[in-house]
């Protein structure tokens, strides 16, 4: 059955059981994707998915249950399951259902029209040819994936909240494999936008040159160096450690930033902003997962820690206002906290000037194993890296198969300069990142 019909059944069941506080969170997504190997379509996929999460308050506890099966039996089951689940909870924290805001900031992203399957396939093939055309060293194994997707989110609750948001996006993923006959290397580049506006050549060139530049890379020498983190690497670090800015984590002792607002936690050149309306984002959001209006805020401003990120529950527990950062990892997950687009504000230097300032050091534009080699609780990281040596203020020979180690909290303090070359990078929902190149003093490298 359709969602609206299902929703009415759930509400009827909730009312029949005498529930006064409940909410339905519905997420639906449809996507088509074409992927190319060599010069032909390898896989074509079209999928329609979605599910409903129901939550309700019973004796002060919030119970959850969710389903993808929109049937009458499931409508009754999720209400009962959420009640059962609420009954065994032990926390004494106050729980909330959102009431929304008086108004919501309009999003500025351009609405796009999703392409037909034929147009998508044709463009994917063209993008693949752009990869081959970018350089003679490009070999089979290079791959293109082009995805068109539409997602719908609806939140409705017993407090009168009734919100709806729809988003459409086209994403191009270009993965280049190059070989000089002796060695093979790969890299990728992602682009967003309306199908006709995607710059296939530029995306291909970036992926190919990143892969080619690493051919012949040597292992970096072991030692302590100034390190320039390129945008791809810096956004990777932000992704691994963005949880330290969550008020929920801070309250549970999983972040060192509890009660540190107003303190200097980073170098003065460092400003970090959470921006739900970031111009380049293909997924701007006017409200969070509790329906609170979202807004742009500094997390760190010129080194000073301004705020943790809150949802309604953490804000109430800590005597603050929600920062509109309630989130769900997936529709079925409980409400947590995350940023929208977490971005490092640009500095005034060009990247060349940043390299000059670094003098002799290492430029890192690849970090691997972020899910394993970065400990978000202690802040320690030790990560597989790739990039270039910096000699006399210039990028020189390529280096790889080394690790960079440090501590995220110390790194924030150790930033000595920020360039102006901001790049937006999305690893998928719910959070995206943007950063320019950032110079950090004295990190440990292990190589040869």
């Amino acid at each position: 059955m359709k969602y609206n019909e299902f929703k009415q059944l759930v509400i009827a069941e909730a009312q029949r059981l005498g529930l006064s506080d409940y909410e339905l969170y519905y997420s639906e997504s449809s996507s088509t994707s074409a992927s190319v190997f060599q010069h032909a379509i390898k896989d074509f996929d079209s999928s329609v998915g979605g599910g409903v999460s129901f939550r309700c308050l019973k004796d002060g506890h919030m119970g959850y249950a969710s389903t993808e099966d929109l049937s009458a039996e499931e409508a009754a089951r999720i209400v009962r399951a959420a009640l059962d689940n609420a009954a065994v909870l032990e926390t004494d924290e106050q729980e909330f259902l959102g009431e929304g805001g008086k108004s919501y900031q309009p999003i500025t992203q351009k609405e796009i029209t999703l392409p037909s399957a034929e147009a998508l396939t044709k463009k994917a093939l063209e993008a693949q040819e752009a990869l081959y055309a970018a350089d003679p060293l490009v070999i089979d194994g290079s791959a293109t994936e082009l995805v068109a997707m539409q997602s719908t989110l609806a939140i409705a609750n017993s407090r009168g909240l009734d919100l709806f948001h729809e988003n459409k996006a086209v994403v191009l993923f270009s993965a280049a494999v190059v070989s000089d006959g002796k060695e093979l290397n790969d890299s990728y580049e992602i682009a967003f936008g309306a199908l006709e506006e995607l710059d296939l050549e530029k995306t291909a060139r970036t992926a190919v040159s990143d892969a080619k530049n690493q051919l012949g890379a040597d292992v970096a020498p072991t030692g302590a160096y100034p390190v320039v983190f390129a945008p791809k690497a810096m956004t990777g670090l932000l992704q691994a450690f963005s949880g330290v800015f969550s008020a929920e984590n801070a309250r549970k002792g999983l972040s060192r930033l509890k009660d540190r607002e107003g303190e200097r936690i980073a170098a003065e050149v460092f400003t970090l902003i959470d921006d739900p309306f970031y111009a380049e984002s293909p997924a701007q959001m006017p409200f969070d997962a509790e329906g609170t209006p979202s807004f742009t805020k500094a997390v760190i401003e010129q080194g000073e820690f301004k705020t943790l990120l809150h949802n309604l529950k953490s804000a109430a527990a800590m005597g603050k206002q929600s920062t509109g950062n309630a989130s769900k990892g997936s529709y079925s997950a409980p409400v947590g906290v995350s940023p929208f687009t977490l971005r490092v504000a640009p500095g005034t230097m060009s990247e060349e000037e940043l390299l000059q300032k670094a003098g002799n050091g290492v430029y890192i534009d690849f970090l691997g194993g972020l899910h394993a080699g970065a400990d978000p609780i202690s802040g320690d990281f030790s990560l597989q890296s790739g990039g270039f040596m910096i000699e006399n203020g210039k990028k020189t020979r390529a280096v790889k198969s080394f690790t960079v180690a440090g501590n995220f909290y110390e790194l924030l303090q150790g930033v000595t300069a920020v360039a102006d070359n901001v790049k937006f990078i999305s690893f998928g929902s719910p959070t995206a990142f943007a950063s320019p190149s950032v110079l950090v003093e004295g990190l440990s490298l292990a190589g040869k």
């Binding site: 320690d380 080394f402 292990a446 190589g447």
Partner: protein, 460 residues
């Protein structure tokens, strides 16, 4: 879930534009989790995942479509989407389905969904408080007890119509120790393809809690691992992640078939040290990564990947098999109907060798003993991998010395498996969730204690 006659009609529709293979995968999965933090149960969640994925092949082209609408109309629409995307031909195969049963070698005594929350909470608390009571320096503990009841149905144009039910249970405890303002984490997260009887027979919840706390305490008093190239001994159990990352992913058809693996075209060649025999075995009764049949309906099997250093087999799904002109190996897996199946690992391990554990440590003048490993990742095209050390110790003059934290290991798969030059005899397995293009699937990694003669250790 879906009647045979309906499956047959849907498959015929999916193949109506000239597919030479058509497949329907349906699932109904119930995920149940109980979570604790701050010494209290703070979240209990039920989530039903249900839908259908349809796939058609024509030569080396694959088209897939998935839907949550499992009504006949919804299924036909999904089949039409797949058929339309494949092209404009006419039906070339006749599809007649016969039901088959492959049996179940993973008995479950206590189906978790039949047990009330209270009993699961009691188990979780047993583990939780064993961790939080371990030492005053344990500043926080979080714990999860999860169970999954994953019912699948596979029908394909080869006439197959079959079903399987995969029940898994896992307990995960994370403990944080705080000493002098420094925090360190310890984890223990065993799981099995079993029901709640797992806690009566093979897993003691309190031991799980204590192990997580012990590890956190050791690491909280550890200094940073020094950086450099050195010999490393890697402990049994989850230590097997080294083979999983350094070699296992590169033996999956998803990279081998496209020529995108450093082991493409090397069957029969010596690719590893002769001490290395490695196996992927999805048939181990009740093991976390086990399956009766894979997600294409091929029975699971024991695949010897490397025997005494010689490459013997890849892990192959149907499409990979087409590209490689080889038979599938029961290795096709997907997280759910919404993902497109590809070749994956099940329970993958380095088999016992003949070295004695004490000889392995004694052989190292200066090096690292990685007693417990964290996760890692690999780029199969270049073979470059990384993984983190959860609990490490320096080895000096053949003896285990002080604990060290923050170590990671990086290298190239094809080089590292040549350097595994000592293999002990205490093979054990650890549980993980492996992420790849077909989603996150449960896998075991395993090995006895091994020595890698030299590898880059990241530290500071």
């Amino acid at each position: 879930m879906i009647q045979r006659e309906l499956c047959q009609r849907v498959l015929r529709r999916a193949a109506s534009t000239g597919a030479d293979y058509a497949e329907l995968f349906a699932e109904h999965t119930v995920n149940h989790t109980v979570h604790m933090i701050d010494a209290k149960v703070d979240a209990v969640n039920d989530a039903v995942v249900a839908g259908v994925g349809i796939r058609v092949f024509k030569g080396l082209r694959s088209v897939s479509a998935s839907t949550v609408d499992t009504s006949e109309t919804g299924l036909m629409r999904c089949a039409d989407a797949a058929a339309a995307a494949l092209g404009e031909g006419t039906a070339e195969i006749d599809i007649v389905l016969h039901e088959r049963s492959f049996g179940d070698v993973h008995p479950v005594q206590i189906v978790p969904s039949s047990v009330p929350n209270a009993r699961k909470i009691a188990i979780l608390k047993d583990a939780y408080f064993a961790a939080s009571d371990y030492d005053e320096a344990i500043s926080q503990v979080s714990g999860t007890l999860m169970d999954v009841d994953h019912k699948i149905l596979i029908a394909n144009s080869e006439g197959l119509y079959t079903q399987d039910r995969q029940i898994r249970t896992r307990l995960a405890i994370t403990a944080i120790a705080e000493k002098n303002g420094e925090t360190q984490t310890g984890t223990c997260s065993p799981g099995r393809r079993m029901g709640l009887e797992m806690f009566d027979s093979v897993i003691n919840p309190q031991s799980v809690g204590r192990e997580a706390a012990r590890q956190a305490m050791v690491m909280a008093s550890a200094g940073y691992c020094p950086a450099g190239v050195m010999p490393v001994a890697i402990g049994n159990g989850f230590g097997g992640v080294i083979f999983h990352e350094a070699c296992g992913h590169s033996l999956e058809a998803s990279s081998v078939a496209l020529g995108m693996s450093e082991f493409s075209g090397k069957l029969g060649e010596k690719i590893a040290n002769e001490k290395v025999t490695a196996i992927d075995d999805g048939t181990i009764p009740n093991a976390w990564g086990s399956i009766n049949i894979d997600d294409e309906g091929t029975p699971s099997q024991r695949n010897v990947l490397i025997e005494n250093g010689v490459l013997k087999s890849y892990m192959i799904d149907k499409m990979g098999g087409r590209r490689m002109n080889m038979a599938p190996t029961g290795s096709a897996r997907r997280q759910s109907y919404a993902y497109t199946t590809t070749s994956r690992m099940t329970n993958t391990y380095i088999a016992n060798g003949e070295d004695k554990n004490e000889d392995i440590i004694a052989s190292m003048e200066y090096g690292l003993f990685a007693k417990a490993m964290g996760g890692g990742s690999v780029n199969p095209a270049t073979g470059e991998f990384n993984f983190s050390v959860q609990e490490g110790y320096m080895v000096r003059n053949g003896k285990i010395a002080e604990p060290v934290r923050g170590a990671s290991l990086v290298g190239k798969g094809s080089e590292i498996i040549q350097k595994i030059d000592m293999v002990g005899s205490d093979m054990d397995m650890g549980q993980g969730m492996c992420g790849s293009s077909s989603g996150s699937v449960p896998t075991n990694v395993g090995q006895p204690l091994i020595r890698v003669s030299s590898i880059t250790v990241g530290g500071r």
